[in-house]
Amino acid sequence: MSITKKIVLGLGIVIIIIGIIGAMMFFKPQRDVQNTKTDFSYQASEIVNEYLTDSNNANNKYLDEEGNSKVLEIEGLVAKISEDFNNQKVILLKSATDKAGVSCTFTKDTNEHTLNIKTGDKITVKGVIRSGAAFDADLDMYENVILEKCDIISK
């Protein structure tokens, strides 16, 4: 094999590898939250109070710069069950004495796991945190911690 042929072959291989890596990055699937290791486990009141005490500190601890934020398991009392515009079930975990709770949004794959849940049940939910609890002066109300891609861990 001549030296030119070797160079052409080598370059070809490099280009193919770069192409494959590029395609893998471009077509990288969405994060599978339920198959991601849980980072923290709390009672609903604990994460709410941590946010109400120091939201900057909590955002630093839980939010990720690229949106791949911490995966939490939250235990709490079911205060409300609803559905959003995307037909996803939303379960609010909140104790009556807390100012805010943890709002857990399920997916079209996990929606059915919520069917036998009723208000007052004590359950544990796993999901990814999107934003924290805070008192918003413009809304004039407390906002809940938001978890998405949720599923029920135990009930």
Binding site: K28, E65, E66, N86, R130, L139, E143
Partner: protein, 181 residues
Amino acid sequence: MKKSFLTIVALVAITVSSFAQKQVSSKTHLKFFSTTPAEDIEANNYKAISTLDTSTGDLVFSVPMQSFEFEKALMQEHFNSKKFLNTKANPKAKLKAKLVNLDNVKFNTDGSYTANVEGDLTINGVTKPINEKVTFKIEGGKINLTSKFNLTLADYEVAFKKGKPSTNIAKTVEVTVEANF
């Protein structure tokens, strides 16, 4: 005498509370849509909270930015990153506005009404004045709000200087909003 005093206190309390006509919505949908010859990009968010005071016309939206979902994971990571929306530093966007022609909207009568909304929109930590049209549909006492408007990304310091995002993301994106109160 004591009894009538208590009655007056109760009446005043009821009147005062009926003035506070604040409606809360946690059933919302926000959509960003960007189109360029290279590709169309769409992101959806179902987690915003909104309050509407039908007596004063005050309208507020609080939007958790990390709840925007894209078709491709890489786009979502770009969106959240420091170069774009910096959602770790600015986890929420906020609209704080007022209905200008509040009298035109009969919140207690079924029908469709258009209103002008004027106020401030804060995205990426940057606050700019905003003035857009919203449509209210009232049906059986339930309030539905919809709106569609364009945002210029550079206004909110979301700039793509070079690389693929600068050619594949439009300079102006279309925003669609819906909320059920």
